[in-house]
């Protein structure tokens, strides 16, 4: 690395910040302890402990520590975040305010149902809306994230077969699926049967038919799939799977392409999950918490987790008499504060706006694809849905890896797309711009991507060295995994 690159990191922004325990002094505290006015009640000697050895910091020390850390992060609010399959759309500010209303945020989950009527109503209505958006019969907000929703759906399928005395153990999973799909199936005791994609990047009903047998419990399908293509044969595949006695699970990670447009019941889907932290605009928070509600058709509705919210004669109540339910999946009622944000988002859009959101998301992805396909390899050149998959094939001759392109994007002000996924495409670059981006911003990222393609030829070392404008440069992940240091005390 040359001197110039080193100096391109503005010193003030990247000031190093010590770890919490490298600062502070015993006896400080950043919060106030109330004077109780009641007698001190000592803990009996046998049970009494010392308490955790946490560093003592003053209030301003804590404020500066986390403020500094935040400047080393990149969020949707910082710039475009076209991370494929993650739907990093704008997270409306109003939703944060509303989720924090004291009536919601201060509600104890075990309040009598009449005391929490507003909370039950919100859950009930959001469940109805989510079911309507995908054309299924009912939904449950209990699953806490997408993978938890997958687990929920597969537990429902497992219970359905158990009740019929079946020992069906196989679940079909396409090659292009997210890793959570086979992992969720495995947690339910299912073994994975891999389904190869057809030449057009989609599932071929004939291939699926050849893999079905009396052991098949079901199939897990992501639609649109992770290549950004709509699985047009899903109705036929569903008929085949149902005829073999299996059920159909749809992974809703890519729902943002088809919100309010596709009828999962007509496509033969029995159960699916919906990521509120993707399609429904709730913030991802640097790793969660998300929310992964599950919607079901008539066949599997009785298996939804419980308790569920019911409504009759103007009153909301908990339904606990659910003989087929898989039971509880969350300590209380799911990620309620996330649900408030999603509820607010859906109301801000309305039925037509929900459909429009998908329209603009697909428009943006196709625009990006068209503008980039001259500079980058596009393995499936057709209309895409909400995301497009490019590769580094045109840059490989210059010894440029997909990782190099991603890291150079960081230096030029963008969060990289998802890379090396889906696995069915070598060195994939998977971009999902979402409907939130304006045309000028798409044009700007296109210019940047074209610049990188030309730099790959003219100055490949620039890409190999990237990023150089960040707090740290490329990190040695191999050594970190070989001898893991997971706490400051190791």
């Amino acid at each position: 690395m040359n001197q110039d690159q080193g100096e391109s990191r503005p010193a003030t922004r990247w000031l190093s910040e010590p770890l919490l325990w490298e600062r502070g002094r015993k006896g400080r505290s950043g919060l106030s302890v109330p004077t109780t006015g009641v007698p001190v009640a000592p803990i009996p000697a046998g049970a009494a402990g010392e308490g955790p050895d946490w560093p003592d910091l003053g209030e301003l020390e804590v404020v500066r520590h986390y403020t500094r850390l935040s400047t080393w992060n990149f969020g949707v609010d910082s710039g475009m975040y076209p991370l494929g399959s993650c739907t990093m759309k704008y997270n409306p500010k109003i939703n944060e305010r509303l989720a924090g209303l004291p009536g919601f945020s201060g509600a104890h989950p075990l309040l009598p149902e009449t005391a929490a009527a507003g909370a039950l109503q919100l859950i009930y209505e959001l469940e109805q809306w989510l079911a309507a958006i995908v054309g299924l019969a009912a939904a449950s907000l209990q699953p806490a994230a997408g993978a938890h929703g997958e687990l929920c759906g597969m537990l429902m399928i497992a219970k359905y077969h158990r009740e019929r005395g079946g020992t069906r153990r196989k679940v079909l999973v396409p090659d292009s699926a997210h890793g959570t799909n086979p992992a969720s199936a495995a947690m339910c005791g299912f073994s994975e049967v891999k389904v190869p994609l057809g030449a057009d990047g989609r599932l071929d009903p004939k291939v699926v038919a050849g893999l079905l047998d009396s052991e098949t419990a079901g199939i897990m399908i992501t639609n649109p799939n992770t290549l950004g293509l709509f699985e047009s044969s899903l109705p036929e595949i569903s008929r085949l799977v149902h005829a073999a006695g299996g059920l159909v699970y749809a992974d809703g990670a890519n729902l943002n392409a088809i919100m309010g447009r596709v009828d999962m019941t007509r496509m033969g889907v029995d159960v699916m999950h919906i990521n509120l932290h993707k399609s429904m605009s709730t913030p991802h928070g640097g790793g969660g918490p998300g929310s992964g509600p599950v919607a079901a058709g008539k066949t599997l509705e009785p298996y939804l987790p419980g308790p569920r919210v019911g409504y009759q004669d103007g009153r909301y109540f908990w339904r606990r008499d659910l003989p087929h339910s898989i039971g509880r999946l969350h300590a209380f009622h799911g990620q309620f504060a996330v649900a408030v944000r999603a509820y607010s988002y859906l109301l801000a859009l309305g039925g037509e706006g929900i459909k429009d959101a998908s329209g603009y998301a697909v428009l943006n992805a196709n625009y990006l694809k068209e503008k980039l396909k001259a500079a980058y390899d596009l393995p499936y050149d057709e209309t895409c849905m909400h995301e497009c998959v490019l590769t580094n094939a045109k840059q490989r001759g210059d010894k440029i890896a997909t990782l190099d392109i991603a890291k150079r994007l960081i230096d030029l002000g963008y969060h990289p797309p998802t890379i090396y996924f889906p696995l069915v495409v070598e060195s994939a670059i998977m971009s999902e711009p979402t409907e939130s981006e304006a045309k000028e911003d798409l044009d700007a990222v296109v210019e940047t991507m074209r610049q990188i393609a030309s730099e790959a030829k003219s100055n490949p070392d620039l890409l190999h060295a990237a990023p150089v404008t960040t707090k740290v440069r490329r990190l040695d992940e191999t050594s970190a995994a070989r001898k893991p240091k997971l706490t400051g005390d190791m």
Binding site: W54, S105, A331
Partner: protein, 446 residues
């Protein structure tokens, strides 16, 4: 149709469609067969402008129950949240980022999680903690599955004084496994798990909670002896991390894995979610830990940084062979908890915990004076900020009357433990003053 969340003008759309080479946005959906389409728009009301949206949700919030005065925890605790906590965790660079797959532009999240793991390891007295799970209930389920992987055994012994909802979630996770066997250990007469007659046998784990659902501090050291003598692991849960401010940690008493709910650490109750699932363990089990782990790494110039690590445990690498399917966790809850823990410091946390205990003991003695009685005969167990007492005749009616005034004076245990028809769970935190408690005691006696 224009909406504040869509920046597209009609001219933008026209130009973009021209580049793509189609005439209408709907043409982009040609690959969706007519037979797969919704026949009408989804029945969702709106669109609402921001002001109307506020009005509508404020209306719901007004009847959601946040204005009640609640004298119990039961897995969801009302603690004061210092103003700096949401001010910092709400910074949008933290809030609007994804899981830190690109470490160079995620060092804020990654350093915060590394610090979080360290603070949780110290809190629980075990050397390794993960980056979070969804909530306490799923932390129990994941800890139990982890113990089965570590020991190669399948049977679980579970205290019936582990939070009843958490046990339900464990049962949901285990339901597809025909070989899963869960033996429930009954409560003893004093509100502690009956540990003597466990018959640990070939179990993978003995699972207890301390303080347990009744608020009582279990004999964790004795449980460790019993579990370890049979080659089983001891798993210790908690739903109120404040207890560990003044009690011995699970790790120091012999727990092999600790699991818990971290909501108390700066997170609002929010009708029960999102919470914060905590999991820590002994060092040698690190490759069986579910969920994300952040580790220290060096960059090209030898500078300290942090990365997601040991990904070979995880679903995106191992797929069906992964130790868990978890992907998204409770990252922002973990960040929030870390900020809370940093603000409290060891000294402040200890004082806060002591204040909780003092107030709870004050309420307990007041209720005992008002005719409530300990659960069993004999010596009452040590409790932290929750406890169970038997109520005098007529208390149910009094409880219902207080509900009409938005006061929740304890939780009846009979729906969870039918044999305990007159037992109630109470709890207080530092958010209740002496005056609040005196007022409640007057009401209970009235």
């Amino acid at each position: 149709m224009t909406n504040r969340y869509f920046p597209h003008t009609p001219e933008d759309v026209r130009e973009m469609l021209g580049v793509i080479g189609v005439g209408d946005i709907e043409d982009l959906f040609a690959s969706i067969p007519a037979e797969s389409r919704l026949e009408s728009l989804p029945a969702v009301p709106g669109p609402l402008g921001e002001y109307e949206l506020g009005r509508r949700l404020e209306g719901l919030a007004a009847t959601a129950g946040g204005d009640w005065s609640v004298f119990l925890g039961a897995g969801s605790q009302e603690h004061h949240i210092p103003a700096l906590v949401p001010a910092l965790s709400g910074r949008s660079e933290f809030l609007t980022s994804y899981t830190p797959y690109q470490p160079e532009i995620s060092q804020g999240t990654l350093q915060a999680v590394f610090e979080f793991q360290t603070l949780i390891a110290r809190l629980t007295g075990l050397p390794v903690a993960n980056a979070s799970l969804y909530d306490g209930a799923t932390a129990l389920a994941e800890a139990a599955l982890m113990a089965r992987r570590v020991t190669g055994r399948r049977r679980l012994l579970v205290s019936s004084l582990v939070h009843p909802h958490w046990r339900e979630v464990l049962a949901t996770y285990l339901a597809p496994d025909p070989e899963a066997e869960v033996t429930l250990l009954p409560p003893g007469p004093d509100g502690l798990t009956a540990l003597a007659d466990t018959g640990v046998g070939e179990a993978a784990a003995l699972i207890i909670q301390s303080p347990n659902f009744f608020g009582a501090v279990e004999d964790v050291a004795r449980a460790a002896e019993i579990a370890h003598a049979a080659g089983a692991l001891l798993l210790v849960g908690f739903s109120e991390p404040f207890a560990l401010g003044v009690l011995k940690s699970p790790g120091s008493l012999g727990a092999d894995i600790a699991f818990g709910e971290g909501q108390s650490l700066g997170l609002p109750q929010s009708f029960g979610g999102p919470g914060l699932g905590l999991l820590s363990s002994r060092q040698e089990f690190v490759r069986q830990i579910p969920g994300r782990l952040v580790g220290e790494a060096k960059d090209l110039e030898g500078k300290r940084g942090f990365v997601l690590t040991l990904a070979t445990r995880e679903q995106h690498i191992r797929r069906s062979k992964a130790v868990s399917n978890i992907c998204t966790n409770a990252g922002h809850s973990a960040l929030t908890a870390a900020i809370f823990m940093a603000a409290a410091g060891g000294s402040g946390f200890r004082q806060l915990a002591q204040a909780n205990h003092d107030l709870a003991e004050y309420l307990k003695s007041g209720l005992l004076a008002a005719g409530f009685t300990p659960l069993g005969g004999g010596k009452a167990p040590v409790t932290f900020n929750e406890f169970v007492l038997r109520a005098p005749a007529g208390f149910s009616a009094r409880h219902a009357e207080l509900c009409r005034r938005k006061i929740l004076a304890g939780l009846a245990l009979s729906p969870y433990y039918p044999a305990l028809s007159d037992a109630w769970l109470f709890g207080v935190t530092e958010t209740k003053s002496r005056e609040d408690i005196d007022q409640l005691l007057r009401e209970v006696k009235a």
